[in-house]
Amino acid sequence: MFSLSTNPIDAALLRQSLQNPGAGALSVFEGWVRNHNEGRRVVLLEYEAFESLAQKEAERIIEEARQRFEILEAVCVHRVGRLNVGDVAVWVGVSAPHRDAAFKACRFLIDQIKTRLPIWKKEHYVDGSSIWVNCQTCADPVSNSNYRPHAIKIEQ
């Protein structure tokens, strides 16, 4: 089960949904909002999702985890909206008969969620500036597209 949530994540409730009499292990990953990134002080994160595709893709990812690992239940929730330092941004829980599959599936799910779901994060910094993570750093310098360097003299 996957969902996007505008409300704070209730870990106790999610944990209950993973109960299964055949389970001998529960592995949980929580992604928290941290107060710094790449040397800058972060005060707030803003998450945005392309909801219909995120939902479909997440369900595919969970199905893939079920194919790869011997697990019983899997639940992932991702927050959208504004989050403060310390908030849980993403929650992944997996129950399985044995711990090895629970650990591996949990790791697989969070890794795939981070790279495949159409979800974006804007970091707001202590100095009032902000950037969309992974967008600004790889943006092509459009503002420079009309820029022409000084003529380069080619020596014959």
């Binding site: 779901l117 159409p118 974006w120 992974n134 790889c138």
Partner: protein
């Protein structure tokens, strides 16, 4: 009206593109034949900073190739580099 008169498409923008466009969605009529052509037209008009190599594109909730044809009534979403988690 000839077939080449234009297609009505709905476009959704997210994250950086939404901010650069100044809106989350718009309806427009375009003569663009492919998704690439549509993006390049919009990109030039609104000075988007991301090139097609950095983006993916979805039509009606399915990922598509940039050179796939644009159809009447398509719901197009340009997907900037993701950063979930």
């Amino acid at each position: 009206m000839s077939a080449s008169a234009g297609k009505r498409v709905q476009i959704h923008y997210y994250a950086l593109l939404r901010e650069q466009r100044g809106t989350a969605q718009e309806l427009l009529v375009t003569s663009a034949r492919s998704l690439r052509q549509l993006y390049l037209e919009l990109s030039e008009q609104h000075r988007f900073s991301l090139s097609t190599e950095k983006l993916r594109v979805a039509v009606n909730d399915q990922l598509q190739g940039w050179d796939d044809p644009l159809q009447d009534n398509d719901r197009v979403v340009f997907i900037p580099p993701v950063a979930g988690g």
